[in-house]
Symmetry: C2
Subunit: 199 residues, 2 copies
């Protein structure tokens, strides 16, 4: 039986997605058994295949499920008539916040974004680009308004900013005993980035 679109959003579909997210984050995609996911979701092994084509599809679905949401959330919070500096601050804070409150998902995304088959990489790249472009938008806006230096190249710098923020977020999540708070991280990042960009 094919996996029909109407199964998405089903209670069981969500339960499995969430279980898979936890399990993949915990053991890594390749070390996780489908049976592990089934057990975590309190479901029979075969049930997974009523909702997902195969193990890969499970990973792709996790990605799809969350990436759009994250992009939309960031989009929402930075849109409006705020000044670019404020937008950048909000972006940094929100990204950290999103990672913090979706730790397992964040770990899975990180992994999926970077490894996996060619198909997935290209597929993921598109969704990822949308997210990244939220940053370059801010940068361009800042340049137009004369608050950010003209010499910076938004296409390059968007990645640097993302890299810094995401590395911090993931590290903070993976850190056993928290040596500093997420607020400290946010303010340090904001300070450095803003000063690094301003005219």
């Amino acid at each position: 039986m094919p996996v029909s679109i109407q199964k998405i959003g089903t209670e069981k579909y969500q339960k499995i997605i969430q279980a898979a997210t936890r399990v993949f984050a915990q053991k890594g995609f390749y070390n996780a058994k489908v049976a592990d996911v089934a057990k975590e979701a309190q479901v029979a092994d075969g049930t997974i295949y009523l909702y997902f084509k195969n193990k890969d599809d499970l990973l792709i679905s996790i990605f799809e499920n969350s990436m759009d949401t994250f992009t939309a959330e960031v989009q929402k919070i930075i849109s409006g008539a705020l000044d670019p500096v404020e937008k950048l601050k909000r972006f940094i804070n929100l990204h950290l916040e999103l990672v913090k409150s979706n730790q397992d998902t964040a770990q899975v995304l990180q992994i999926e974004l970077r490894q996996s088959s060619k198909f997935m990489k290209e597929y993921a790249a598109t969704k990822f680009r949308d997210y990244l472009n939220l940053v370059s938008q801010i940068l361009e806006e800042g340049q137009q308004q004369g608050v950010f230096r003209e010499s910076i190249d938004p296409m390059i710098v968007k990645r640097a900013i993302f890299g810094a923020v995401d590395e911090m977020a993931l590290d903070w999540v993976l850190m056993k005993k928290k040596k500093y708070s997420m607020e400290d991280v946010a303010s340090q990042l904001c300070e450095m980035m803003i000063n690094g960009l301003k005219v």
Copy 2:
């Protein structure tokens, strides 16, 4: 037969390590067969096991082999009586350079280590910390000399800097058609970081 220490550095050992690096970068650790590595190294499957305990050991060895070298190289170039700003510039340039000229290794380190077992993650963390601390050293030195702001926390910012630089490097490597040169990347990064840190 155990893998004796004296096999390390052997011509065949190196040949296998290099083949494995290429294959893992190409197909990903979990999708690569030991037989693939053997073929790439022009060696029989069984021969691999004369030099490495198992497939995991191959991955760990790649990591060990390169991480120390990289750390040493960076250490060398930033030591000496240069000012911290110059050191930071050198660090950024060298890291980019290292990734550029060791693309397969960089991919294996970045991508594969993130998704590997808990053991490897913790093992890798040590070597990685050594590398990161080269950055915080620079930052502290800069603060002592009064060129970098006191308000920055080296323990936090070292990771942000690494994140930005490494994300750029990896992205540049993975990018099919290069939209910009590595020199552009370096100068953009330097500009942003230095301005972001200066008093």
